[in-house]
Amino acid sequence: MDVKEIIAKGDLVYEKTKVLTDKEMHYCPGCTHGTVHKAIAEVIEEMGIQEKTIGISPVGCSVFAYEYLHIDWQQAAHGRAPALATATKRLMPEKYVFTYQGDGDIASIGCAEAIHACNRGENILMIFINNGIYGMTGGQMAPTTLDGMKTATSPTGRTVEQNGYTLDLTKMIAPLPGVCYVARHSADTAAATRKLKRALKKGFENSMKNKGTSFVEVISTCNSGWKMSPVAANEWMRENMFPVFPLGTIKDE
């Protein structure tokens, strides 16, 4: 059976979800943002909650996330997505509300908003795309940048003396009583993305059970900022980021 025949006679086993728009994403080739958008869109489709979901997009490369998913959105000032999500969920408790934030957004400029939303136990899902760098503005050091990592603002490598320790925000918020679910995943392979989807589903479900805040970190790449090919960036991430930010479920109550 040749390719044409398989396409004509075979079963369609995978196609792009209708929750994703037809707009071409502006992301660099191989950027993790695209894969995570797809994972969120597929979970929304599988749960049948497209009409009931409101996303809050950040400032950062994913500022235009609202262009790519056919759901309701708001776009927050840098780091303020958890505050906007708080208001949105409190005004419309029947909606599934999530934030989508980069590491610069959530762990640096919006660190206070993130921690206090978690501490108040807002019934939202927070999705944290950790690529260890400020991607959008040209690859500056973030709190999540690894020790020794070279960035535009640490050209000889980050040092503890100069810049302190790599911040593990996910581990910091996990003990807070307002937080019900904390997990760390990646989206570098189909297997990893399938696991990520299960975590996102759990987070969405929790947000309707009034259990508190769910927090899902995605260890990601910024191949442009890291100055590597997309495949090399994935390899670098597995080798260097996974030991510092181990994947798995950290809290599930």
């Binding site: 396409i7 995978y14 196609e15 792009k16 080739p29 191989g30 189909a190 997309p230």
Partner: protein
């Protein structure tokens, strides 16, 4: 044993030539095409179509979701 047969369709003009699908394919079906698309990227194509098992790994890991996957289940062999 008859193998599951798969085939993928890459939306050539939307492919960004990142190579993530090629890396994530368990059967080494995919490769970069020598030709480039309108964006100037060497897009992904089925270099060894006979190897594809229709597992959808490539389509799930493609950041731009430009791959569609088809599959034909093997016909049951009659036991003699």
């Amino acid at each position: 044993m008859a193998k599951v047969k798969g085939a993928v369709v890459v939306d050539i003009e939307k492919c960004k030539g990142c190579g993530i699908c090629i890396d994530d394919c368990p059967t080494d079906t995919l490769a970069f095409e020598r030709a480039v698309n309108g964006k100037g990227y060497h897009y992904a194509y089925m270099k060894a179509p006979e190897l594809c098992i229709g597992c959808s790994n490539c389509a799930i890991s493609c950041p731009d979701t430009v791959i569609t996957v088809y599959r034909v289940k093997p016909e049951r062999k009659k036991t003699s």
